[in-house]
Point group: C2
Chain length 374, copies 2
């Protein structure tokens, strides 16, 4: 599965795998794809360095990348100071904090034991956190830097290019894609409505060719709704130079969701069991629909706060729900292809299924087109 972009990056298959797990990223890269490690959950630069050390050691000398969540617009506190976590905490209304506790109490979610710190906090989308991640990342031979929210700031693009690192940015519309191209990025990831995580309203079938037309000759990766080789063939038929898969890896043997109950929930879920909700971060993100997302999406509730307030507001709560595996509230970002994630496979098995499915789809298309192919 070779395109101009895959040749440029020196990978065998134009399959890009986004994952928060270093073991999954390494396995994707070893299998001939391009593993992209999601950095949003790393708060401490040392933790990211440790995992990049590991990834570098286990990638078999093949290329990989990093995905950060850097807002294009700087969030500013009064007096033009860069917004700190404390500033954001101070902006959260008391009523919303009460709603969090009431919702947890209704489902009997225990508090953290006395003295135990909270779990992770998603602060990676605060600019200073993302920048400290980059300070670490450029010490490693990453080949791609992807930004999940908007175009990266110009100095970041320049710094990446100085290091010989290609820059990708996610786009939910042709307009976003054009803005990225103007910002000097190298690859547009066109992320359709059906994708897990932050996503817009245009479905991949429509978005992919629109993005291709908008930024050509810049390469576009098709993202959203892709978890099989047939779906890869569809994305490539739409003009993409590769595909970007995130959800499919969540139920692989190498993934570590820290919750067996959550893995089981993913394996059991159908394609109709996700929702685009602001519950997670304050921006619409597709995730498993749970009583937690229902509470935030309820028109009679207080509703989610804007980014980055919502992420900080719910950080502890989400950690508690995960630690105690409170089933009705337990969720994760995932796309509509969750309906086909019905068995646990190794990353290599997923990869083999993808490439075989792709070949089958090519055979099928050739038969329909009346072509003989060899």
């Amino acid at each position: 599965m070779e395109t101009e972009l895959s040749r440029k990056l020196g990978i065998e298959h134009a399959i890009f795998g986004f994952t928060p797990f270093p073991a999954v990223a390494a396995a994707i890269t070893r299998a001939g794809g391009f593993g992209v490690l999601g950095a949003v959950r790393y708060t401490a630069p040392d933790d990211l360095a440790r995992d990049l050390d590991w990834l570098q050691e286990h990638a078999g000398g093949k290329p990989y990348g990093l995905d950060v969540v850097m807002p294009a617009k700087k969030a500013e506190a009064p007096g033009n100071r860069t917004l700190t976590e404390a500033d954001v905490e101070a902006m959260i209304p008391e009523g919303h904090r009460r709603f969090v506790e009431e919702t947890l109490a209704k489902h009997g979610v225990p508090a953290f034991p006395e003295g135990e710190a909270s779990g992770w906090r998603i602060t990676g989308w605060m600019e200073q956190v993302a920048r400290s991640q980059l300070d670490v990342a450029f010490d490693y031979p990453i080949k791609l830097l992807a930004n999940a929210l908007g175009s990266p700031p110009p100095d970041v693009v320049a710094r990446a290019h100085d290091h010989g690192v290609l820059v990708a940015a996610l786009a939910g519309s042709a307009k976003h894609a054009r803005r990225h191209a103007e910002a000097g990025i190298d690859i547009v990831v066109a992320q359709g409505y059906e994708a897990g995580g932050h996503t817009g309203e245009i479905a991949s079938m429509v978005l992919t060719p629109e993005a291709v037309d908008a930024v050509s000759p810049l390469p576009v990766l098709a993202a959203g709704g892709i978890g099989s080789g047939e779906q890869i063939a569809a994305g490539l038929a739409l003009g993409a130079q590769g595909v970007w898969l995130g959800s499919i890896w969540l139920t692989t043997a190498e993934a570590d969701l820290h919750s067996r109950a959550l893995t089981e929930k993913l394996l059991a879920a159908g394609s109709g069991d996700t929702v685009r909700s602001r519950a997670l971060s304050g921006k619409p993100a597709r995730q498993l629909r749970t009583e937690w997302t229902d509470a935030w999406d309820d028109p009679n509730g207080p509703g989610a706060l804007p980014m980055p307030l919502q992420g900080l507001l719910v950080a502890d709560a989400v950690s508690r729900i995960q630690k105690y595996e409170v089933e009705p509230l337990l969720g994760t970002p995932v796309g509509q292809i969750v309906g086909r994630m019905n068995s646990e496979r190794s990353v290599q098995q997923v990869f083999d299924d993808l490439t075989r499915g792709f070949e089958r789809a090519v055979d099928r298309i050739n038969r329909i087109a009346g072509r003989r192919a060899s």
Copy 2:
């Protein structure tokens, strides 16, 4: 573009075109596809007969079909009577009627002149109307009967099969597709979230292969988000035996929207300018987003009534908006591909673009797969 299904129907290309316009249906069939005339707007059986006469005369001896909107469940009035239009009218709350008039007044929409009857009323989704359409349709050599809402009743399936007519039904989920298969239908039209008209929440990229797996070996047509040859290739790569296109014909030279302003609006609209709204019929249907849909989707408004009440409630209003071309309110069902409907072409030109784009996509996929094809 040949599949088992296209061979069975004796058509050159596995492209099914749904349209409310006989001239478009005939041109699709003549071009080598399969034209399907939408019957929902016909209230009088004689009008349908007149247009089927015309279609038969202009289809060049090639096959075509009819699309009805027949609810699987009979709507019943008290005392087990079949629900009449008068029954439905009586169920509409006065507040909703006031809201219609207020919204029209706010935009200065004139009333019909004294003595002039209202325009069309969409009553085709009332069972007795759909059945009277079938009484007409089976007098013509239609080759396909499609149902847009649920499985057709068993006696209708049996009657179609007695006439040698294949039965298709639209499905927005694998569950719907399975239900159709159990009802004995012959073809499932898997209609994704991005489609115009009544549609569910699962995007085509995910829905198509799910429907294929759910009903195989029954053939599936991919619908939703398809308006180019590349999108056709994608739909076929996903396992469909053909594609079902509706929106793309709306701006063809043969289409008659009765409003130049509406045609201009479609030509100018982007893929983000549609909305899944209950404004039209009471069930979520994708259409141009207008101040009319905004009014019905406003959480502070009365909200749309359930089907079939909403359709009757707004019938006159929609006719008035169209007659007087009140631009901010003027809309039509259309899918997200409206973003690529930027020029008026003849049906034959659209068809040529589709088949050329398909061949390009096949070339591209073969290059990526490293195949030589001839």
